[in-house]
């Protein structure tokens, strides 16, 4: 039924711009990349620190600022791999900036969310902002993080660019705030290639007291 072809395509294009609020779209000059050295560095709003095992690249948007508590890194560019840090997202806040009037909205974080609810929030993020048409939770299990009882989520998703990506998120809610380190990469080759980096970064994570 043709009623929507054009509407849908235009809507998707508009979404792209909105979604770019969170990405360093490098080749368009909207973002800056910064070198991350191999030593302890503060991430997000600086309440979390980690040590990367080799140099990574931090990317930040210039025209649209990301939420303060979230920071993105990449090794081979955001299409292929990336690590996102969520450093103490407070209840009632969102992982990304979004228009209150957008039809589709990434749910807000609430302090009393259980791990399955956090997983659902992440899944909606991928479906709404990442254009995932398929998202599979591979496993959700308890895992210690930042010295407390947290969780580990493993997942994979098929995006509208026809590429399967795979991810792992390790997180915990501490004093009602969400701390999360999330790794997402092309499923073939890239995921396995930088997974040890991710694990080393997660292992090095410390809260700033």
């Amino acid at each position: 039924m043709m009623p929507h072809t054009k509407l849908v395509v235009v809507a998707l294009a508009a979404l792209g711009l909105a979604a770019c609020s969170s990405l360093g779209a490098g080749e368009y000059g909207y973002s800056s990349y910064a070198f991350v050295p191999v030593r302890r560095v503060n991430v997000g709003d600086n309440s979390l620190s980690v040590v990367p095992p080799r140099p990574w690249n931090r990317h930040r948007s210039i025209l649209w600022s990301d939420v303060e508590d979230v920071e993105d890194w990449t090794l081979n560019g955001p299409y292929l791999d990336g690590i996102s840090f969520v450093s103490g997202l407070k209840g009632g806040r969102y992982l990304i900036r979004q228009s209150k009037r957008a039809s589709q909205q990434v749910p807000k974080f609430r302090s009393d969310m259980t791990p399955p609810e956090i997983v659902a929030m992440l899944e909606s993020l991928y479906r709404i902002k990442g254009g995932a048409v398929d998202f599979r939770t591979l496993s959700l299990q308890p895992r210690a993080f930042l010295g407390t009882g947290g969780f580990q989520l493993d997942y994979e998703h098929l995006d509208s660019d026809e590429l399967w990506r795979k991810g792992r998120a390790v997180g915990a809610v501490i004093n009602g705030q969400l701390y999360l380190i999330l790794y997402d990469a092309a499923r073939s080759h890239y995921y396995a290639a930088a997974l040890p980096d991710f694990e080393s970064i997660v292992g090095s994570a410390q809260l700033r007291r």
Partner: protein
């Protein structure tokens, strides 16, 4: 958070910009209702183009089809794709045997016909159809575009009027798709959608497709009135979605090539009345349709509900529930509230989950969320038994380790 596809989508917006600009110059004609009886097919079985420009388009579209048919966004289930093929075989008029039809896993209400006679149906369409007559109606409408040669007619029309826009956009779109040029990580199917937007249908053409569609639908023995019901459902969904976000649904804008909603619905009803023969019975095919999509219905509901568009999702679920509530629909009703996540929504969700698990067809996930709701409400013992039920139904659940920990 990282979003790998933003760059590509920006590129797409450039392409779409060209297409829309081209289209905007061709609309605005006054219209009288197109009568189904006047709608004779302009192509016969085994149609092949004889003129140069159309042959060129067919060549490009053959490449496009090659790419689409190999896309991993397609749902390949032979039962479902065979079902779609059977339907287009029934309502496709003289070209019925020539059509190809693909099912794409994309949660939008959409279907499209390409100039060479292959159609792409989005999975979101299957979620929204309540019976076989509705699905057949959409397919009949799309087939109508091919039978009336709308793509080549609109292409010729536009090229005359908007040479620059159309040719530039066409070169950008088709160059990427057919030449194998890497235009960023950009969904191939949607890219072809962009190309399609160059073949804008005028309001008159939409009316023609409705009219010939109604005729072919009724000839195949389906209730033609269902076509106007689809339209009603679509308008209802868009209104509901907009209302939630305090917006107005776009209507009758300059770029809207479709007949205004009300007049189209009225025309579709008139079409249906015209093609209905007294004394003949027309089928709806609800049972057959529901059993056909049963294996993927929860996936379709997942795809929709997790987009967190509560107005649209709630409207859809209530529309589907007109044919009867069940555990699956109650569960997804709860999911809509939970994801909406406004004050009091957790209690609403909890009620839906509790209602869902009372049905014999309650999905395992309903028991899990029922358990989580109970746990958060401090009803630990009941939560444990709900979790246990969940694990019994789904012993290899991906989150079994977490659930076992929650049981303690």
């Amino acid at each position: 958070m990282s979003c790998p596809k933003c760059v590509a989508l920006s590129r797409r917006s450039l392409l779409v910009g060209g297409g829309v600009a081209a289209a905007s110059l061709t609309i605005g004609m006054a219209e009288a209702r197109v009568l189904p009886k006047d709608m004779v097919p302009l192509v016969g079985p085994g149609y092949r183009p004889t003129e140069k420009d159309e042959q060129g388009i067919w060549q490009l579209m053959d490449r496009a089809e090659e790419e689409i048919s190999g896309s991993n966004l397609l749902i390949q289930d032979p039962k479902l794709t065979g079902y779609l093929r059977d339907l287009i075989g029934k309502v496709g008029g003289p070209a019925a045997r020539d059509f190809r039809i693909y099912l794409a896993h994309i949660p939008d209400f959409n279907a499209m016909m390409f100039p060479t006679g292959f159609a792409v149906v989005f999975s979101g369409l299957l979620l929204r159809m309540r019976n076989e007559a509705q699905l057949a109606g959409v397919i009949a409408h799309e087939s109508g575009h091919f039978l009336r040669r709308h793509m080549i007619r609109s292409w010729r029309d536009e090229r005359r009027k908007t040479d620059i826009f159309a040719v530039a956009a066409m070169a950008a779109g088709v160059g990427g798709a057919a030449g194998g040029v890497y235009l960023g990580d950009y969904v191939q199917l949607a890219q072809l959608g962009t190309i399609l937007s160059l073949f804008q249908y005028s309001r008159a053409m939409e009316a023609e497709a409705d009219a010939i569609g109604a005729k072919n639908l009724a000839a195949a023995g389906y209730q033609p009135m269902e076509m106007s019901t689809i339209w009603e459902q679509l308008i209802g969904e868009e209104d509901a979605s907009a209302r939630y976000r305090r917006k107005h649904r776009r209507r009758g804008s300059l770029f809207d090539t479709h007949p205004s909603d009300q007049s189209r619905m009225v025309d579709l009803r008139a079409d249906a009345a015209e093609v209905t023969e007294a004394g003949k019975t027309y089928e709806i095919g609800r049972e057959r349709y529901l059993s056909m999509i049963a294996p993927i219905r929860s996936m379709l509901l997942d795809d929709q509900v997790k987009l967190n568009d509560p107005g649209a999702s709630q409207y859809l679920i209530e529309t589907l529930a007109k044919d009867g509530w069940n555990g699956q629909l109650r569960f997804y009703e709860g999911e809509v509230w939970r994801l909406r996540n406004r004050h009091g929504d957790d209690a609403r969700a909890a009620l839906s989950y509790a209602a869902a698990v009372a049905y014999p067809d309650a999905p395992a996930d309903a028991w899990r969320w029922h358990g989580i709701s109970l746990m958060k409400a401090g009803r630990t013992a009941e939560a444990k038994s709900a979790f246990t039920r969940y694990l019994t139904m789904k012993p290899d659940a991906a989150d079994a380790a977490w659930v076992r920990q929650a049981i303690g």
